[in-house]
């Protein structure tokens, strides 16, 4: 039963991932990417990682993808954004590189398949078990993540918000976006 669920989810995930990289319209790509993320969230639940599954939906499928869609609407892209201006050589190169890596991947997966399998720890994925690890062993990384987010916030503001041009006096470039 579980295996059937896995196969169905995995096939949907793979198919939609392929759609992400083959669609002409970035909006279609975003929507297929959301579908992939939802499938991955299903797999997380099957792997007993409930908290991560919830985060996957909230952070990835929710926040990040909405941000993508928002920027797409903001830029209002249209026209020749598709495959047609890509040389076949580049497509060949891309798939050759990916295929080579895949060969390597399949080679090692044969050994990974024989990995010793321990029983599922039903407590592991719950919020309380997760929090225990996060706020004890990973206390410092948690704080570092806050520094990183702070840096990203200040960075985006610094990049977008400019000093008014009048303050500049001599502006060699002439125009400010």
């Amino acid at each position: 039963m579980e295996i059937i669920l896995f196969i169905i989810t995995a096939l949907i995930a793979l198919a939609s991932a392929l759609m992400v990289i083959t669609r002409k319209s970035p909006i279609a790509s975003v929507l297929f990417l959301v579908l992939t993320f939802v499938c991955i969230a299903v797999l997380y639940v099957m792997l007993g990682a409930q908290f991560i599954a919830a985060m996957q939906i909230i952070v990835y499928a929710g926040a990040i993808m909405v941000l993508f869609l928002f920027v797409l609407m903001l830029l209002n892209l249209r026209g020749n954004q598709g495959w047609e201006n890509i040389s076949p050589a580049r497509i060949g190169l891309g798939f050759a590189a990916a295929g080579l890596l895949l060969l390597v991947a399949v080679a090692w997966l044969k050994t990974a398949g024989s990995m010793e399998v321990a029983g599922l720890d039903p407590e592991m994925g719950t919020v309380s078990a997760f929090g225990d690890v996060l706020f004890q062993r990973f206390l410092l990384p948690f704080e570092i993540a806050s520094v990183l987010l702070l840096g990203a916030i200040i960075g985006v503001v610094a990049m977008i918000k400019r000093k008014p041009l009048a303050e500049l006096g001599e502006d060699k470039e002439g125009k400010v976006s």
């Binding site: 390597v104 997966l109 990974a112 990384p141 520094v147 610094a158 990049m159 001599e170 976006s177």
Partner: protein, 495 residues
Amino acid sequence: MTFNPTDILAIIPEIGILALAMIVILLELLSPRQEKLFQWVAAFGLIAVIALTVIFGNHGSAFSGMIALDGFSAFLIILITAVTAAVILMSGDYLRGTNIRHGEYYGMLMIASCGMMILVSATDLVTVFLGIETMSISLYVLAGLRPEKARSSEAALKYFLLGAFATGFLLYGMALIYGASGGKTNLAEIASAITRLDKAIPIHLYAGVGLISIGLLFKVAAFPFHFWSPDVYQGSPTPVTAFMSVAPKAAAFAAFLRIFGGALPDLGTVWIPVIWVVAAVTMTVGNITALAQKDIKRMLAYSSISHAGYLLLAVLASATYEVNKEAMAGMMFYFVAYALMNVGAFTVAILISRSREKGDYQIDDYKGLAAEHPWIAAGMAIFLISLSGIPPAIGFFGKLYVFSAAVKAGFVGLVVIAVLNSVVSVYYYLRIVVYMYMRPKEVSLSLKPSVVTLALIAICAVFILLGGVLPGKVMNLADQGATQSGLEKPVAMIR
């Protein structure tokens, strides 16, 4: 496992620099016109951070093995902080010609340095990853801080897309190592887990090592992942380029050394040949391409690629237990030398380009500089001679220490290639010296150097010469740091 309050002492430098970043950003909100004030607050604050690092410098491992403030990391933290202070001082003049907000710019520089501090003291894959990302995300922003210039935006986009791509590889490598070592993320634990595996090493561990090295080679701009760096260096605001060419490189190499020398020495038979070839090609490609450059920022970018090649020798040597400390100390010394000469050279480059109409960086602009500004030309000559590794300057001893560690570890062939490369590099460094002293000037440069700029050039030049005359002093410090550092005895020896 629970939180131990004294652990906070191990992250004092990070806390200090973050507090300083906040202070400078808030100061800008309160009085946006006091740009000189931010600069001096930042510079003196960074000196205070250096003092704090010296005081608390030997705390050891903390936060359940996530981070270690040992001699190695304290030395590099001090170096990174000093480079940040120098970059902040050289930025003042540059920023006044742009519409960058000074406070935010200094704040971003300091947050990037905070990421690098975390990276050099990281002893766990999680902290390595978060350190790299804090550093990189701040650098993407710094590269794109002049969005009114197409080049700056392009540099940011290129750096960002390729950097994020490389992060994907780095993370996949970490995931595979995590799986293969039985759920370990601590570097020392990974090393002992790999030793316990003995000969039955799963293939995905090898794949993990390969993927992680792709990620790290990208961060240090080594072949074949170097192609982003000339464009990014050229397009970024020049003080940021000076910063990028020194500090993140030092931080990424420290992580490289901790991961490959500290956690994976048992897999040396696999990664050493690969890194050997990468090092040889990196230094050759960097030097050969630098020969053809007409823009000084691009030339210095390729020169920094070749220096990354030399530094990979130290990573290779660090996997041999007998010379592990020596390789670490050599790398630390090399970074001191490299920081001095690069900061100096970029300060001169900014000065020259500001007197040009378009603010560009042609090497031809240096023709006849000595006749007009003999002292600045003398400074630049010292930096270039040191970069090329000609004896009296500190750059020579940097190469000497790294190369001798590599010879002791048995990489004689690679050292020969490195020495040949150094000879090639003399050509393009000294070409500028020849331009400055032996060519008639084409355009008159009316340089208006500020006192800070002149002081920076003088300090760098004096320390390069002092370090060249008394290399032992710096080397003692580096040795001390390497000996104090908590790098575990490579497990191969315990066996």
